[in-house]
Structure formats: C-alpha cells, structure tokens
C-alpha cells in the first residue's frame, strides 16, 4: 500500500515513543524493513486470569488510516468474551468510536483494559460471555488454562526487558499528541484509584497495572464500568492491590492464586501441560 509521508511520519513518531517509553504492560514489536508490520504485546494484567500471558495483537494499516482505524487481530489464542476464535476483537474504539487522533498505543491500552474488564454484553465468544455472566470461577479457570497453554512463553518476551514509561515520572506528559494519555486520565479508575494517584506508598508494588478507565465495546451506553465493579469480576483486583488481601470475598481466592502463579514465574506447570497437549 502507499502510505502518505505524513502518515508514515506520524507512525514513525509513535513507534519511537512506544519504543522509548512504552505504557505499563505494553510493548510494540516492529521490523526495520517494514514499519507497518506492527505487533503489539499486551502483558496479561495481574489479578486477572490472563496474568502470566503475553498477548500479541497484529496491526494492519489501510490507506484510510488514520481516518479509519487499523485492523487489529489477536494472534495469541485467548478465552475472552470479546475476542473471537479467529482473533477479532470487539471494541468500539476499533470501529465506531475511532478517532483519527488515536494511535497504536491507545488501541493496546484499550485491549489491556478489555483483559481487565471483559464485557459479556458484546460477546464475540458467547460461551465465554455466558460463563462470565453465570459462573465467574469457571470462566477464570478456562481463561487461565488457555492462557497457560497458548500465551505463556518460557521466557518473557525480550521487548519487556525495557522498563515501562510509568517507571519514570509523568510518563505521557511530553506526548500530548498521543490520545491514550487523554482517555487514561479521563475519569476515576474503577478500583477507586488511578495510576497517577498511586505513588509508591502502596504495599504491593509501585505500579498498579490493573487500573483501567477505558470502557470496552458497546458499553458506552450505560455505566458498565461501575456496574462491573459491583460484581465479583476481576475488577476487584485493583482494590486488592491497594488494600492487600481484603478484596471482595468471592474474587479473593482466584485473585491471589493468579497473582501467586504470576509471581512464581508463571510457567512451570504450564510447560508440562503444554507438552501433554502436544501443542502445535
């Protein structure tokens, strides 16, 4: 495709930014011979059944970019209500709510949020949607299994060797152009805290990777974010990071387990299972 110099310039700028100061839990891989060959890697947020996994999102830019969103596909298998078996991701940001000021970073942050706040109401995988609605534990187990089988590498992807931007103060201040900063700080985080207001005084660790204020697909209608908060869904985890172990009771068990696994390096058990399953 022919991409106009202006668009290439913009992409170059954003890739540069994502390389030098990536958002927490998000990295971007691209190849030197083709800047348009972009793959985002989203680290499964801790406290979710995706913890320990690394989820790759493939970008395809059309000539209408940035007026039209890039096409994005999850190329790592995942059990998630808003991701189809073919990897389509149902987020309004990638369709009707797209704005030309959004970029790669914004999309990846949105996907990360989707891992934290799955949205059964706009299910692409209706089975995952139903499980999430009816039997949260089963949903978590299933999601965790798929994560350990398909998304958990032996070693962390090299892209994550570089620290995230949030390690340094005021990560996005210099990048007023990147839209992600706008929406990230737009409203209070569901957990009652925000990235900005979570200084190192919190007990667990400095960053609170599960904060998320982007609303996932089809949920703009009603305050789903709030609604999900009241349910024993993974959102509780944001709180649990803050207050140690006193999160909503039903979620506590799964949460701590997930955290533990992530903390212990995440992969040993999965490795065995993987072999057993003769992964292709």
């Amino acid at each position: 495709m022919s991409v106009s110099p202006a668009v290439l310039r913009r992409l170059m700028r954003e890739l540069n930014e994502l390389q030098t100061s990536p958002p927490e839990g998000i990295r971007v891989a691209t190849s030197e011979d083709n800047m348009l060959d972009v793959t985002g890697i989203v680290e499964g947020p801790e406290g979710t059944p995706y913890a320990g996994g690394y989820f790759r999102v493939k970008f395809m830019f059309t000539e209408e970019f940035p007026a039209a969103p890039p096409k994005c596909r999850m190329i790592t298998k995942i059990f998630h209500p808003n991701v189809s078996s073919a990897g389509e991701i149902c987020v309004n940001t990638l369709k009707k709510d797209w704005k030309s000021s959004y970029g790669i970073g914004h999309i990846l942050v949105t996907v990360k949020c989707l891992l934290i706040h799955p949205n059964p109401e706009s299910a692409l995988d209706e089975e995952a949607g139903m499980l999430l609605l009816e039997n949260y534990d089963s949903y978590c187990d299933r999601a965790r299994l798929i994560t350990s089988v398909h998304a958990t590498p032996r070693v962390r992807p090299a892209e994550f060797d570089k620290p995230a931007a949030s390690a340094s103060p005021a990560p996005t201040a210099s990048t007023s152009k990147s839209a992600s900063s706008k929406s990230l700080s737009a409203s209070a985080a569901p957990g009652g805290t925000t990235e900005n207001s979570a200084p190192a005084t919190y007990p667990l660790h400095a960053s609170t990777p599960n904060t998320c204020t982007l609303t996932p697909s089809n949920s703009s209608e009603k305050p789903i974010g709030k609604e999900r908060l009241t349910s024993p869904a993974p959102l509780g985890t944001a709180n649990s990071n803050v207050s140690g172990t006193t999160a909503a009771v039903p979620a506590a068990a799964t949460t701590t387990r997930a955290v533990k696994r992530a903390a212990t390096g995440g992969g040993a058990g999965a490795e065995k299972r993987k072999k057993a399953l003769k992964r292709l």
Binding site: P5, M35, E63, K96, S122, E126, L133, H150, T230
Partner: protein, 1008 residues
C-alpha cells in the same frame, strides 16, 4: 438491446442502469419511462442536456433545430462534425444521440431554417427545454405550458455566464425532496403526555429536523404508535424529539424503532412573465450575492439587443457593450456595470465547460420534472466563472472570429490564450465516468491540439455494461476493450486536431509503475487531472504531484453530490491534507451475534461468502502449491487447528463428487447457520438471561434470535440452497443446475443430524484439579490426528480448486443471489426486515451510486479551473473548490485552503518544501549536515516503510550504518534492490533541537 425500442414500464434494465438506479430508485425511473422530452436548440448546451437525458432513460427525446450548422458550433457541440456544416443541426445530431441508449428513441422534429418553434408543435411533450431562445419566444411558449401542465425550462450559456429558468407549473408535487435514506433508530422511552417526548437509544443522534415526519414499529406498551399515521416532530435535542400528544395512548414499556416518513412537498412556480418582474433567485455562489440581479437584467438586455440588431454584441466591443448596458439599466438602474459589460463582451462566446455545468444541471431538472424525485430549482439560476478569464485580458482584436472551430472560445479568451490551451500538456488519470466527460470537454477546447500539446490518459479497466449508462464515449460494441484506448479514439474523432495527440495507457498509477511515470514523464507534463474512483490512487497521485510540484485537479461524485478541488504547488494544501471521515464500521460482535439492521446481516453474509467459497479454496491451493505451507502458517499461533480442519474438510470429508452432494452440503450449511448456530447462541445466552445488574440480556440493540426450520417451499430457503450448491460446485469444477425442482427433492431428503449444544461448562469440577484436559485438548491435541487425514500435496499433483472471484454485476453467477439469501435468512433469525436483491447488491458490493448529470457538471467545473492553471494564476483567491448536490439543489464554492505552515529555527515551511541531497551521500553526511547547518539532531530516519536508523538501535548497528552510502543502506534494510529507474529516494527524519524538543522538518530528497 436493439429490439427494445418499446419500453416496457415494468422492466428496467438493471444491468445497464445499475449505478443510476441507486441514485433515482425504481419508482422515479418508471415515471421517467413515461415522459417525452422536447429540446429546442441543439448547439453545445442543447446536446449536453440531450445526451444526459438519453443516458438517464426517458420514454423519448425529441430535438428541434432546423438551423444550418456553422463552424463555430464545434466550439462545444460534440455531436457535430466538420462535414455536417450547412446541414440542419438537429438532423446531424440525431444519429449520434440515438446511439447513446437503445431504450430511448431520439427524434428530430424537423422544420425549416428560419422557422422558430411554435406552440402547436410542443403539444404531447411532458417537458419542454428551450436552449438559447429569445426572451419573446420563451414567454410565448411558457404562457402556454404554464396553463397546460407542461414543465418548462429555458437555459442559455454566454461565454463564462449561464442562466436557467424553471417553471414546473403552479402546483408541482415533489415526492422526495432530498433523496436521502429515511432516518431510523431505536428508542428507549416515549413520555405519555401532551408533548410526547421520544428518547433515542444510547448516544445515537436521531438526525431529524423540525417538521420531519416519523412512524414507529416494535414499540412495547404504547403499541398504538406502531404503524401510526406519520407524526410531525419537533427536535428537542440530539437524542430526543417530541411527537405531540400521547396522553390517550398506552403506557410505554420498552423497545421500538422510529422511521422517518418522506412527505410530498408542493412547489409553486410562477410563469416566466410573472417571474421576470418578481424573480426568485437560486444562489450558486454566496461570494457573488448581488450578481444574480445584475445578470437577470443583463440577459434580458442581451435578448433585447439581439432583437433590435439582429445579431449579438461583438466580442469585447465597447460600443455594443454600452448599448447592452444601457438596455439593462432601463430594467435595473443599480446593476453592476462591470458584470453586464463582460456579459456583453462574451455574448458570442461558447465554452464547453459552461455547457457541461449548465447542461448537467438542466438535465437533472428535466429528470426532476419527469419523476418528481428531488427538489427542483426555484426559479432563476445565474452562474458565472469570470475568475476563469486570463489575468491579462485579451484585446478586442485578439477575440475576433477567425473561422475556426475554436471561435466560441476565442471570443472569450482570445487567440493568444487559445494557443496556450493548444500547447498544454496534461495527464488524465482514469478514463471512467469523469474521464470520458473530461476528454470530451478537452477535445472541444482544443486542449493539446497544438504542436507542443499532449494528453496522456491511463486506465487499467476494460468496458463493462454498467459503464454504458454514463461513460458516454463507450458503445455496446466496445464491451471488453480498454477504456483509455476507446475514449481516446472517440474524442479524436470528435475533434480531429487531437489525432495523434492523445497517448493512452493501461498501466495503473502506483509504486509499481514508477518506471513508466518517472521523473522524465512528470517533467514533460504541465499538470495532472484525477478522474479516479478510489482514495488510494488519489492519495498516491497527490503524493507524486507534491513531489514533482505539479498542479492537480481533483474531483469526485457520489450520486447527485460532487466536489472539485484544485491543488496548486506552494499556493494550496494538497489533496491528502484533509480527509473525509470514512464510514463508521460496525463492531464485530454486532455482526457476529447481535445484528439489529439489515446492513449487519449483509455484512455478515458477504463475509460468509468469502469464508465458504473464496478462502478455503485459496487455502487448499496454497497448501497444494506452496512448499512448506503448513509449517509456514503454523508459526502463527491460534489458528492452526482450524486451518487444518478446513483443508481436510475441503480436500477429503466434504469434497463432492456429484452436484447432488453439493446440494446436500448446502442443506447442511443451512442447518449449521440458521438453526444450530442460533440454538447454540441461545443455549449460551438464553432468552431470559440477565446481565449482572439484572437487566434482560436480550434488550435494546440486542435482538433475541429464533432458529429457522428448513422449508423447501420458502423461496428464500430454497434460494440459499440453489446458490450455495452452485458455488460449491464451482469450487470443484462441477457442472451446476438451476431447476428448483431438483434442489427441492434432494434438499428435502437430506438426513440432518440432531442439534447438540456444545458446552464448556462441565470442564471444571474440582477446585484443586487443573482444568480438565478435555477442554484444552480440543484446542490442539488431536491436530496430529487431523494431519494424518490430509493427503500430501505430492499425491495431488496438478489438482486445484477454483476459488470464486466476487463479481457483483453478473446476474447469472449466483454471487449476489447467495449473499441476498444468506443475509435475508439471518434477518429472519433476528426478525429484521429483509432487503431485496438490488439493495443487498449495493451494500454488499459497496456500489457507489452514479448518474451522468453530476459527472457532466463536475467535469465542467474542473475545466473552469483548468483555464486558471493554464493562465498560471498565482493568487489563491483566483481558484475555487466546488461542492454541489443536484438533488437539493445546492452549489457551494470556497477558496482553496493555504498549506499549513510549520517552523524549524526561524524557517517557515509547508508540505511543498524539502531538503535535497545529491550524489548518494552517506547517512553520516546527512546527520552531520543537519547538525552543522541547523544545529538539529537526527533521532530517526526512514525511507518508505523502512526504518533505516534511530538513536536507540545500538552502537554496533549505528557504526555499521552511518558510513554507508544511502542507497546501500536502503537496500540493506529494505532487503530489496533499488530498481534501475529509481533516481531519488524520499526520506523522512525526526529531529530535535538543542533542548531535546522534537522539531518538524520537511522531507528529504536524496538523489542517487
């Protein structure tokens, strides 16, 4: 086609009229097919109107012009030839007009030279158009038509001026004032009170305006609203509107859809006699607000002058102009003298771009009169493009006629300027609808007819039937030939001066043809005119024009809407500087599980088409022909199993040996899609499912589906089977079948396995046990087993499937049939109103509605800008971008926007600036140059899509790359050799200043 002289009102040739039907609709076209149109006067304007109406398709077109043809007529009359001089114009033109559309008989009304049209001879016509008739004659004819229910239009062009008058009678009913789709949307509440406030779902703007009418469906509770008489609304906010008293209706519960109802509009026209005294002007350019009044008097004065002197004012003759001005002042003492004087100066001028603008417009007005579709123009239109005059005005002597075909243009611009036009060198990109009209205009203008002149035209397409409705240089005999070739030959025949002056090509413009359209090519042209149908090619040409600093004329149409843009190096922004917002896409979950509108089901079925008939066959062929296909594809995680399953299915388990097996396959596909999948969805999300807040899950935009039970007596069910079976057979090279009886018999006898819901719920039983292997195993465990079923490529040497190539315009290939049936079945699942084949075809085929009238007008506007480019006008305000919508109608013009200025250090720059480096320098040299000359630090360098260098690639790579010659560096990173014709590279850099702040700088040109 040849035998279809008698139009059957019911049968519209959808193959021919396809694109136009999406503009006008079947109803309007049926009304047109009952209308007889008379056009009086067939010089350039008359023939342009006639051409557009014949293409559009009315019952008949009759022309009247017994006057002998003169050489000057060739300035704009593209259907007359030199050898016709002396023949009655109508007699000479009627043959070529007849060739345009076999469904529309074109007749010559006859008459004797010197004999004007009479009231007696216009009886029997529904629409009468007078072109260039005297005011006396206009009044005489209009007096009768106004009283007798005949629609009347008078039109005239004089040099760069045009005028139109409409009288469709005292009470004209317009059934669809805008042509826009009726608005519709979901609602969430209706107040039960005097005001009746309706609130729309979510944050979707209703888009209605005060005075619009709506009706409702699917409303729960206040059921009386369903199918109610249209209610007039008042807008209360972007998401709310009031429908008036609802207090005596039931209490609103939930749901509901509002739909706009188009109400007929009554338009009252005055007769010409009455309107001359109290004119109502239709404004074409708000920057020329007082000009209509001046021209209203000016055109009357011209007619009076002609009546007195038996001739028109001589070109740029002061004496004649003074007389016209004096006459005009008797009508209106305060008029703009300069404008009326110019009108008199140019009265003998006859320009094809003006004929195209006014002719396109008037033709649409004729269609409005016939069809009652769209709002007619009320009531006088005056248009001019005085800005197109050369900055140095021609002298009187320079404008005298010389007995050439260009006299009509010379009268306005002078001979010197005619020379410039003749020696201009332009590149026309595209030879479709806009391209054909453009070439016609250019040939009449004599563009490139001089010794230095040349027109390059390229189009990769060949001619198809649906083109013939508006790409008027093509005939049925040309089907399958290259567009550019046929068009070039056709216009060289129109004006033999262009013989050998048009170079036609088939190479499309793009990165792959830069050896054809190279630096030398661009150096040899003066400018580029785009006549394209896609954004990608437009952007590419824009880039090239920016790089080579060539002016670009850009235009496009969409139904009755059109726009033009002129791009001038350094003066204006470029095409890519602004972008139309593309259509918003539908979220994938809506398409996959929660459709609520027919376009959702059509999008779904278009994808199904690919998933069933295109992609699997391609995958099979790739597996059979590409070495290591599986290994290379398995690297991408997530989809291996599905891919292998598909290969096994298409190569082994579901490979049909007979057409009967294709029918069985289709029947099972039906079951899978319209029964099993829906039952599975309902199994996962039952109709009574609730969300975490206790709201019903299936509510609002989520419509609960119902499975379909196959019934071979239902035509849609059977259509699906017929189309799917035939397409499946096509994949395997099996002969198809169309007898419905065969399908019925076999489909009814298929044994369909009972539906078993899939469930993953059971996997987790024990908290401590890792989740059962059953669930995970299904995701990859038995893929090896599957692989064993797959025959090796070597066992199937030479065997290939036939992937279907989607072709929307072939009515016998089952493509649109399948998509229509598949979409409508899904619509039945979700209780959505189905769409007919025609509508489905437009949405699935992403067909852009198109009509010749708009194209004609738009290309006329483009050529008016071309005059300015030929004159090398250097002020931005000399140029105009245009926007029109013939349906409303609406004209708007704006000055092109200046290019955005940016700054590095104290240097301002725009998109037209660049840094140039010669002799293939090293990267080090460039980095050093920026440091030394501008004290700027380069942080990143890219060329095309290759990232050549950045400040964080590491010391080793950096030391390797900095001393490399630029061309070598590019070859290294892009992994591609630089082609021999490449003489320069365009390079983008990111730089920062001393403080480390990013600074925007122009692009770099590295000459090799």
């Amino acid at each position: 086609m040849s035998s279809a002289m008698d139009v059957d009102e019911q049968a519209i040739d959808e193959g021919l009229y396809s694109r136009q039907l999406y503009v006008l609709g079947h109803e309007a076209m049926k009304r047109m097919a009952a209308s007889n149109v008379l056009i009086v006067g067939v010089k350039g304007l008359g023939v342009e109107i006639a051409k557009n109406i014949v293409l559009a398709g009315v019952k008949s077109v009759t022309i009247y012009d017994p006057e002998p043809m003169e050489v000057q007529d060739l300035s704009s009359q593209f259907f007359l030839r030199h050898e016709d001089i002396g023949k009655p114009r109508a007699e000479a033109a009627v043959v070529r007009l007849s060739e345009l559309n076999a469904y529309v008989p074109v007749r010559n009304l006859g008459g004797q030279p010197g004999m004007e049209i009479t009231v007696d001879s216009i009886k029997g016509f529904q629409v009468v158009v007078l072109c260039g008739a005297s005011l006396q004659k206009q009044l005489e004819i209009n007096d009768w038509t106004h009283e007798n229910g005949v629609h009347f239009i008078a039109a005239e062009t004089r040099g760069l001026f045009g005028s139109v008058f409409n009288d469709f009678g005292p009470k004209f009913t317009c059934v669809d004032p805008t042509g826009e789709q009726p608005l519709t949307g979901m609602i969430v509440s209706v107040d039960r009170d005097k005001e009746g406030l309706v609130t729309c779902l979510d944050e979707t703007r209703h888009g209605l305006e005060d005075g619009d009418f709506v009706t409702f469906s699917e409303v729960q509770g206040m059921a009386q609203l369903n199918g109610c008489e249209p209610r007039k609304i008042t807008v209360k906010g972007p998401y709310t509107f009031a429908i008036g008293d609802t207090s005596n209706l039931g209490e609103y519960k939930s749901g509901g859809i509002f739909t706009q109802v188009k109400m007929p509009k009554i338009v009252q026209f005055k007769s010409l006699r009455a309107s001359l005294k109290e004119p109502e002007f239709f404004i074409t350019d708000y920057a020329k607000f007082d000009r209509p009044a001046a021209l209203h008097a000016g055109f009357q004065a011209l007619s009076e002058f002609k009546a007195q002197e038996q001739r028109l004012p001589r070109p740029r003759n002061a004496e004649d102009a003074a007389k016209v001005l004096a006459l005009a002042k008797t009508l209106d003492a305060d008029i703009d003298e300069k404008v009326v004087t110019e009108l008199a100066y140019q009265a003998t001028g006859d320009l094809t771009p003006l004929a195209a603008v006014i002719g396109g417009f008037v033709a649409q007005e004729v269609l409005k009169a016939c069809s009652a579709k769209f709002s007619p123009m009320v009531q006088h239109l005056y248009f001019d493009s005085l800005e197109s005059l050369p900055s140095t005005l021609p002298t009187e002597a320079d404008c005298q006629p010389v007995g050439s075909r260009y006299d009509g243009q010379i009268a306005v611009f002078g001979r010197q300027f005619q020379d410039k036009i003749a020696n201009f060198r332009e590149f026309l990109v595209g030879s479709g609808a806009i391209g054909c009209e453009m070439l016609k205009n250019w040939s009449m203008m004599g563009l490139a007819s001089g010794p230095q002149g040349i027109i390059h035209v390229t189009d990769l397409d060949t001619i198809e039937k649906s083109n013939l409705n508006r790409q008027f240089l093509f005939r049925a005999k040309d089907l399958g030939k290259f567009k550019a070739e046929v068009a070039a030959a056709a216009v060289a025949e129109m004006n033999p001066d262009l013989k050998g002056k048009i170079s036609s090509k088939q190479e499309p413009v793009g990165p792959d043809t830069e050896n054809v359209y190279d630096s030398d090519f661009f150096a040899s042209i003066d400018g580029v005119t785009n006549a394209l149908d896609n954004v990608k090619a437009r952007q590419y040409m824009d880039q090239r024009c920016v790089f080579f600093l060539k002016p670009l004329l850009e235009s496009g149409t969409l139904g009755t809407k059109g726009n033009t843009q002129v791009v001038v190096p350094h003066l204006t922004e470029s095409y890519s500087s602004s972008q139309d917002p593309p259509e918003k896409e539908t979220p994938s979950c809506t398409v996959k599980n929660f459709p609520n509108a027919i376009n959702h089901t059509i999008e779904w079925s278009r994808t199904e088409f690919d998933n069933l008939f295109v992609k699997p066959a391609q995958a099979v062929n790739a597996y059979l022909s590409e070495p290591n296909y599986l290994e290379n594809n398995l690297k991408y995680s997530g989809q291996q199993r599905e891919q292998i399953e598909q290969l096994v299915s298409y190569l082994v388990t579901n490979k049909p040996l007979t057409f009967e097996e294709c029918i069985i396959w289709a029947r099972l596909q039906f079951e899978e899609r319209y029964n099993n999948a829906i039952r599975q969805l309902l199994f996962s999300l039952p109709k009574d499912a609730v969300t975490s807040t206790g709201q019903p899950f299936w509510s609002g935009p989520k419509r609960a589906p119902d499975p379909l039970t196959f019934d071979s007596n239902d035509p849609t069910h059977l259509q699906f089977i017929i189309a799917a079976a035939n397409l499946h057979a096509y994949n395997y090279g099996l002969r198809g079948e169309t007898d419905p009886g065969v399908f019925k018999k076999i489909a009814d006898s298929v044994l369909v396995p009972e539906f078993q819901p899939r469930s993953g719920v059971k996997i987790q039983v024990n908290e401590n046990e890792p989740v059962g292997q059953g669930g995970g195993g299904a995701d990859g465990g038995d893929a090896n087993e599957l692989l064993k079923k797959l025959p090796s490529p070597s066992s199937l040497v030479g065997y290939r499937l036939n992937p279907v190539e989607f072709e929307k315009d072939d009515d016998t290939n089952h493509h649109i049939d399948f998509i229509t049936a598949a979409s409508n079945l899904r619509a039945m699942n979700y209780n959505i109103k189905p769409a007919d084949r025609h509508t489905t075809k437009q949405i699935a085929g992403k067909i852009i509605p198109a009509i010749a009238t708009t194209t004609s007008l738009i290309t006329g506007l483009v050529c008016l800008e071309l005059y300015k480019l030929i004159d090398h006008k250097s002020e931005r305000e000399d140029y105009k971008n245009g926007f029109v919508n013939l349906a409303l109608p609406f004209f708007g013009f704006s000055e092109p926007i200046a290019p955005a200025k940016q700054k590095y250090g104290n240097t301002e720059w725009t998109l037209w600036d660049r840094f140039t480096f010669n002799d293939d320098p090293t990267l080090q040299h460039i980095v050093g140059w920026f440091k030394k000359e501008h004290n700027l630090e380069i942080t990143m360098v890219s060329q095309g899509v290759s990232m050549l260098w950045s400040s964080f690639i590491g010391k080793k790579k950096s030391e390797e790359r900095l001393p490399m010659k630029f061309s070598k560096l590019v070859e290294l990173i892009s992994k591609k050799p630089i082609l021999p014709h490449t003489k320069h590279l365009i390079v983008e850099v990111m730089v920062c200043d001393e403080e480390g702040e990013d600074v925007e700088v122009p692009f770099l040109v590295v000459n090799l």
